[in-house]
């Protein structure tokens, strides 16, 4: 890809016109900007995705501490409290019958998730797609 730039030098020997110079400068800027954008979007790291009944309802950065109460169910009878702290997410409280989501260890790496089966709730850590991360736990 990089090499392609040198394949076709200006063979006619003339100097580049002013417009071409401007065009090249603009394109370089665009390329630099897109690189920076890519770079910083990567550096932003993992986020926490909340899904209720399979539908994504919220996304939070894993790097910002917060506590969120998630209410679900037909009559708002389902309650889970999700805590993001020190780059880890966990469920601190829930009124589900099995309490498995509260017992599940906190998640911090892309691909890790916490599930509350009775409430059809999934808390997922997601990362950049170019990062290997983890696809599943068995």
């Amino acid at each position: 890809m990089i090499g392609a730039r040198n394949v076709k030098p200006s063979t006619d020997g003339k100097r580049k016109t002013r417009n071409d110079m401007i065009l090249a400068a603009v394109l370089l800027l665009v390329a630099a900007a897109s690189f920076l954008l890519w770079h910083f979007s990567r550096a932003e790291g993992e986020s926490v995705t909340v899904k209720v009944g399979g539908t994504e309802t919220a996304v939070y950065p894993l790097s910002e501490d917060r506590e969120v109460e998630i209410i679900g169910g037909e009559d708002n009878e389902y309650r889970n409290v999700v805590v993001i702290r020190d780059g880890k997410v966990s469920v601190s409280e829930a009124n589900c019958p099995d309490g498995i989501c509260v017992k599940t260890r906190s998640a911090s790496r892309a691909g890790e998730s916490i599930v509350c089966l009775p409430h059809k709730l999934v808390i997922e850590v997601t990362g950049e797609k170019s990062e290997p991360g983890l696809d599943m736990t068995a």
Partner: protein
């Protein structure tokens, strides 16, 4: 000409940052909560969300069908499932006309019974039902939690003869020849169903999917060259710092873990999990967990239960004698032991 050259140059420059992502497709996840009393996760690489959703619709339809046929807890109108087979009227079971998928599961179950020397026995419903009832009561009211009385367990164990599961392949019927016996396919049904769904996808040429039904993980091809990264859960749930104790690269294999941490309750401060030894009628206590890597997810599911109930030496012998299965044992002190071919699949993240 120069303009064309400049535009080409620009395109190249623009593509440089994008080349950081080696793969053209995107990764998607879907979750299902309605089947096999557990959570099912489909992870896949697809060109678009629409393409992923189309494959998921197919997977879900299959999951739903297997669930409806294999459940012992729910009845469905117009469906003869394992609940129908277990039903007793006028003091006896009836010969029940069932879907071919039920026949195939039960034939597979008998094969696994033989392969595991009876450690995986789907005719143990009477015993497992007792544990199920006492466990649920113990979870609902921990202060009053009790063990099923050994007398009751021993009584139930008299009605677990798998040879009394009469399968008539030609007529497509199943009959339980002991009125007090019942089927519980919990140790194999999820793994078996996942395997059938995976093969269905393979036949259709669908690749790049990872299926997980309650911890029965099966890879259906990769997306490009990159294998799937699958972590094995640390059975020591108290250890917050080490969530995974091993990492596997999968392309077309299945991995299943049986562990003390998956389904349990406490009686007088003691933990009692759900994997019941047909000999002692009590939960097995040799390991914290056993993970089985297998070509066939159904075999993997059955073997993970069987190995969990065997001692390490016998289990290792069984694995080394059987083709296309590997295992990792986590001993009570946390030590990890491996069969000879397991490490070929592991990686260090």
């Amino acid at each position: 000409m120069k303009k064309v050259f400049s535009v080409l140059l620009a395109l190249c420059l623009l593509l440089v940052p994008l080349s950081g992502c080696k793969q053209a497709g995107e990764k998607y996840n879907a979750y299902y909560f309605e089947y096999f009393d557990t959570v099912s996760i489909v992870t896949g690489y697809a060109e678009s969300k629409e393409a992923f959703d189309a494959v998921c619709a197919e997977i879900e339809a299959e999951l739903k069908e297997y669930h409806r046929l294999y459940t012992i807890y729910n009845g469905f109108e117009g469906v003869n499932n394992l609940k129908t087979v277990n039903a007793v009227t006028d003091g006896a079971h009836s010969e029940v006309q069932v879907d071919r998928k039920v026949i195939d599961l039960l034939l597979f179950a008998k094969e696994m019974y033989r392969e595991t020397d009876g450690l995986v026995n789907v005719a143990m419903g009477s015993v497992l039902k007792l544990w199920h009832v006492y466990r649920n009561e113990g979870i609902d009211d921990p202060a009053a939690a009790q063990l099923p009385p050994m007398e009751k367990l021993k009584d139930a164990a008299k009605h677990t003869d798998i040879d009394k599961v009469i399968i008539d392949e030609e007529n497509g019927t199943v009959f339980l020849a002991d009125p007090k016996m019942s089927l519980d396919v919990g140790a194999i049904a999820k793994g078996y169903a996942v395997e059938q769904i995976a093969r269905h996808l393979e036949e259709k040429g669908i690749t790049g999917y990872l299926l997980n039904v309650g911890g029965n993980v099966r890879a259906v091809g990769t997306f490009g060259e990159k294998p799937w990264n699958v972590g094995i859960e640390n059975p020591d749930k108290e250890n917050e710092d080490v969530p995974h104790i091993e990492f596997l690269h999968l392309t077309n294999e299945a991995v299943i873990t049986s562990g003390v941490y998956q389904r349990y309750y406490y009686v007088d401060g003691e933990k009692y999990h759900h994997i019941i030894d047909p000999e002692t009628l009590m939960p097995g206590s040799n390991f914290m967990s056993v993970s089985v890597l297998a070509e066939d997810s159904g075999v993997g599911d059955a073997f993970s239960t069987a190995l969990f109930l065997m001692n390490y030496e016998d289990g290792l012998k069984l694995i080394e004698e059987t083709e296309n299965v590997e295992a990792m044992w986590v001993m009570p002190d946390g030590e990890q032991r491996y069969s000879s071919g397991f490490k070929a699949y592991t990686y260090v993240p």
